[in-house]
Subunit: 248 residues, 2 copies
């Protein structure tokens, strides 16, 4: 049995998310169908994490085991000929026996894009959150310091996917100005050893409350210390979120 690591990119707009579900088409379903077309094998393909409907990926990593003897470069070409245009296979690599995209992940980086100012950028409707008005980026950067390091991040976990522990280590949280098509905005980049359900989107919604001056910088630390989701800001919409890359 051969073990492979697939790196893929997708526009999540038209999918119910990564995971196969009864109520619509998932990225996993399309990828497994493409795998079957190419290899004849009906295989489970596992991703490093389940992205929700509307969430995009530039470097999602998947694991699959196979009896296929096709060289990796041929698999890339053949899979891309089968996947829809909004899912691309960036690479296929040989992986060690037992390689598992979830268990073996050491850290992941998500990026979240916000467009602000007075006017909506009509060319980024699917890929960033429009927050009208000004954002105090400097206050958001100071508030973000309470969200780095090892903490119990229960305040930023949405209900629906209980994990054994809510302690995670946020290795880096960067907030940078970004100007796209002449419109002002921010890129929030978060790297951690693991993420709770909706953790990035809940952190972004919380930081934006500070950016809009609805809350003080210190409020974010207080929210974190409550270890209760009800104190945090809104869950930022899915379509601004990108799974950027995964480290193994």
């Amino acid at each position: 049995m051969r073990h492979l690591k697939l790196t893929i990119a997708y526009d999540g707009t038209n999918y119910v998310g990564w995971q196969i579900q009864a109520n619509g088409i998932s990225i996993q379903q399309r990828l497994e169908e493409s795998w079957e077309s190419v290899t004849g094998e009906n295989r489970r393909i596992t991703a490093s994490g389940r992205t929700d409907s509307g969430v995009h990926a530039l470097g999602q990593v998947c694991s699959v085991s196979t009896e296929s003897l096709l060289p990796t470069a041929s698999l890339v070409r053949a899979l891309n000929a089968q996947t829809p245009y909004d899912i691309s296979v960036l690479s296929v690599e040989e992986a060690p026996a037992g390689f598992h995209a979830i268990r073996d992940a050491i850290q992941k980086t998500y990026k979240y894009h916000i467009q602000n100012g007075r006017i909506l950028d009509p060319l980024r409707l699917r890929t960033c959150w429009f927050v009208p008005g000004d954002l105090d980026i400097e206050a958001m950067q100071r508030a973000a310091r309470s969200l780095t390091g090892e903490h119990d991040f229960a305040s930023f976990e949405s209900a629906g996917a209980e994990r054994s522990t809510t302690i995670r280590n946020v290795i880096e949280l960067k907030i940078d100005n970004e100007r796209v098509h002449g419109f002002p905005g921010l890129e929030i980049s978060i790297t951690a050893n693991g993420f709770l359900y909706n953790m990035v989107r809940n952190m972004v919604g919380t930081l934006v409350r500070v950016g809009r001056r609805r809350e003080e910088v210190e409020w974010v630390r207080w929210v974190r210390d409550q270890k209760d989701r009800k104190y945090a800001g809104q869950t930022a919409p899915a379509h601004g979120l990108f799974l950027d890359h995964v480290v193994y």
Copy 2:
């Protein structure tokens, strides 16, 4: 009567183009409907040029005359509340009497985005042309020199919109490497005192033949000198094209 200059941005994907047509929804129609909702006036709104279906704009300029007394900032807010999300009004300014978006334009800049390499970027399906494989950008840049300056550009005019003269002055034609989402590509920026029908897309299709090494650098000058569309390369697809800005 008041004369106004509107600057607008749009994603052209879901429209038949700028101009009102019987076979579908145009940007002009949606903008004129929005104007009527806001002012009660049924007015003709004229754009600097008719963009085709799928072509985008970041700085299209329009002229309209009005009896409305609404301040320009209120018009921006009120119009954006009426237009669909994929059309934004960036600014409304007072213009001199008789201001006309077509006749008064001194020069326009279009940008064309190409993504190349082996793999399609699933996040730019609507906004760039995927040209698989390598492109010799240095050869394209040398070939582009034949397309700058004042020339008869009849070879780059598609049928369907005859102009009185096919002489235009291309003030600048720049080709730059561009990397988006980790995928390689090019941005081709063309500034001229006016454009023939499909001129940018026909130039891009012609330059890409050189980039793909199907033709020599010198071929582009030869094509230009034929003054006949049948010698040029393909018309590059609409969705890579952006009307960037117009100078008055």
